[in-house]
């Protein structure tokens, strides 16, 4: 008959190590992406910068002898010292070691950024998936709610929330996340709408797979990539927005260090003693830039068209 390919007895299959096969095959797509990413020197450099900052923030207590100052303890006698061996980035207007402040500030700034994005993804993705998959009135409803939230500028919402609930880390996080989740809903919904046209979704339905299982096993894994790309790029922006809110005094309050408030507090001294505002600014700049570059690279690596040249 038309069976012209090699034949393997069914029994031989159980000899194939099922677990090893699965492990191998699952990561093929991701390994292609990682390979493509690795080829871009700018992306790799940016990733290194991000890792350095994250490690610095995590291990802050061990990395600096001035941990207490980093946390906020003033050291008036040493104020306004320029960068020296003991204080590599100098000291600020309260004599605190700037490097320690940056490291501890990184904890706040970076975690704010990550948490905001995580919350936005966790809210936005399922909403987008449900909206796109079911369509109809439910889709309409979710989209209108999304539009409402999209209309709020995050800064204004933060001011409103700070006014209502008082400025704090948590409130800032909530404020920013509330204005960011709609983007994910939109991105996910668009992906799901195009996915719905693919036959494998219909195939799953024809088998009798329940809607929830379809969304879980067929829809969501296939939209992860754009979400991942969006999230990576958003991390930089989230950190920047958080810094901005702290800059105007509505975020974390002193003495907790935060890069935005460091800039704001060091502003008036900037002309003659630029090192504390400047370091904070540089930190924000580097981290945001790095996340943007990494996000670009992830996007290029994820898209098969830009990843490689094909016929």
């Amino acid at each position: 008959m038309a069976n012209n390919l090699k034949e393997t007895p069914a029994g031989a299959v159980s000899e194939i190590s099922a677990a090893a096969g699965r492990r191998q095959a699952r990561f093929k797509e991701y390994s292609l992406m990682i390979q493509a990413f690795r080829r871009d020197p700018l992306a790799v450099a940016s990733l290194v910068i991000i890792v350095v900052f994250i490690l610095g923030a995590t291990f802050a207590p061990v990395l600096t002898p001035h941990a207490a100052q980093g946390r906020g303890e003033p050291n008036i006698l040493e104020k306004f010292k320029p960068p020296s061996q003991e204080h590599p980035l100098g000291t600020d207007y309260l004599g605190r070691d700037v490097l320690a402040r940056i490291l501890y500030g990184g904890r706040v700034s970076l975690s704010l950024g990550f948490l905001v994005v995580i919350i936005a993804v966790l809210i936005g993705t399922p909403l987008g998936a449900i909206s796109g998959y079911y369509g109809g009135r439910l889709d309409n409803l979710i989209m209108r709610v999304t539009d409402i939230f999209l209309a709020f500028p995050s800064l204004l919402l933060a001011i409103a929330i700070a006014a209502a609930l008082g400025p704090s880390f948590t409130n800032t996080m909530i404020a920013i996340a509330l204005t960011w989740w709609p983007w994910y809903t939109r991105v996910v919904r668009a992906q799901v709408l195009s996915l719905r046209e693919r036959y494998f979704i219909e195939a799953a339905r024809s088998i009798g797979v329940t809607d929830w299982t379809i969304i879980r096993r067929h829809v969501i894994p296939n939209i992860l990539t754009p979400v991942m790309v969006q999230a990576t790029m958003d991390l930089g922006s989230a950190i920047l927005t958080g810094a901005g809110i702290s800059f105007i005094g509505l975020g974390v309050q002193p003495p907790t260090p935060e890069w935005g408030s460091m800039i704001s507090n060091g502003r008036i001294y900037f002309i003659e003693r630029p090192w504390f505002a400047g370091s904070a600014g540089l930190a924000i700049f580097l981290v945001t830039l790095a996340f943007n570059l990494v996000g670009d690279a992830v996007r290029d690596a994820a898209d098969p068209r830009t990843r490689r040249i094909v016929t």
Binding site: R308, I309, V310, T311
Partner: protein, 329 residues
């Protein structure tokens, strides 16, 4: 004037892909004569589309023409500068593609697009170009040409769009039309209309048409001569009747045997074992070796040459070691 209009000689095209180099065209050779309908037929991966695109030097990104020549009236198209080529594309050699909707600009009316094409190639005034464009629409017997002239592509059906494409392609008096799967995306009744249109145009305007398709039926009913491509080379070529009804190459025979025929109702179809090669590896010998029921050791050494079979000067040519491989005389 010589009878041969276009001569593709030993064309080689390759693509750089993530998986490696794909050798899409490996020595494609054929001639097209004036006023003939020439079919270039083959399955996916045989290099027929790439060949068509190479003629007008529009090989997609990542592709590279690495050898051979394409002679139009004796001049090699592959060594021409872009300026000179622009004078040929559209003016002497036109091309239409499979999906007309993608070839038409959605924001301009089809009439407008035709006018622009005419003005691109012919030194005429806007008014004159408009007149000519309308004339070509009328000449292809479009129902209500004025209304269609003012329509946008999305307002027209697929068949109509393809007819417009053909009209536009020939609006500047081209001598040759390359049609790359022009009817594959269309319904069978519309396909019949389009093929009839092409045949009509060939007669009235004496153009040569290179019809690239995978559909042997289309070729059988419309083409004067046909070339069967496999793995980037010509396997068999000649008058349609010769190639289809006296086929010599095992691949051609296999393809024809695989077609469902009235006589074979319900019986198992003969299929060619294996798969079409993916172009990543170039076998030293005949590309069809692994799937050929007549494979011999001689087939492995080097690719067979395309040589006449039957009469020594005959038009029926095969590239197969089953037939004498030395040039006669």
């Amino acid at each position: 004037m010589s009878e041969v209009l276009l001569s593709v000689q030993d064309l080689h095209v390759r693509f750089r892909t993530y998986s490696g180099v794909v050798y899409a065209v490996n020595g494609m050779t054929f001639d097209m004569r004036r006023s003939e309908m020439f079919g270039l037929v083959g399955e996916s991966g045989c290099g027929k589309s790439v060949t068509g695109l190479s003629i007008v030097n529009m090989v997609p990104r990542g592709g590279e023409i690495t050898g051979g020549q394409i002679l139009l009236d004796g001049k090699n198209l592959l060594t021409m500068g872009e300026d000179e080529l622009q004078g040929i594309r559209g003016k002497r050699i036109a091309m239409i593609f499979q999906d007309p909707a993608r070839s038409l600009n959605p924001v301009f009316t089809v009439g407008n697009q035709t006018v622009r094409i005419i003005r691109q190639h012919l030194p005429v005034s806007r008014k004159e170009a408009y007149r000519r464009a309308l004339e070509t629409f009328e000449s292809v017997a479009l129902p209500d040409p004025e209304r269609i002239f003012r329509s946008y592509p999305h307002e027209l059906s697929g068949g109509m769009q393809q007819r417009i494409m053909i009209t536009m392609a020939l609006s500047c008096g081209a001598e040759m039309l390359i049609a790359d799967e022009p009817t594959t995306a269309l319904d069978v009744t519309i396909q019949a209309q389009i093929l009839a249109l092409l045949a009509e145009l060939r007669k009235t305007q004496q153009i040569s048409i290179l019809l690239i398709t995978h559909n042997l039926g289309v070729v059988a009913e419309t083409c004067d001569r046909v070339s069967v491509a496999y793995a980037g080379r010509v396997a068999e070529m000649g008058k349609t009747d010769d190639v289809l009804f006296h086929s010599k190459h095992p691949y051609t025979q296999g393809l024809l045997a695989a077609l469902p025929q009235p006589a074979s109702r319900k019986a198992a179809l003969q299929s060619i074992p294996g798969n079409v090669p993916d172009g990543l590896t170039l076998l030293p010998g005949c590309a069809f070796y692994e799937r050929c029921p007549f494979a011999m050791p001689a087939c492995l050494e080097k690719p067979p040459s395309l040589l006449p079979v039957g009469e020594p000067q005959g038009s029926h040519q095969v590239a197969c070691y089953l037939y004498p491989q030395e040039k006669p005389g």
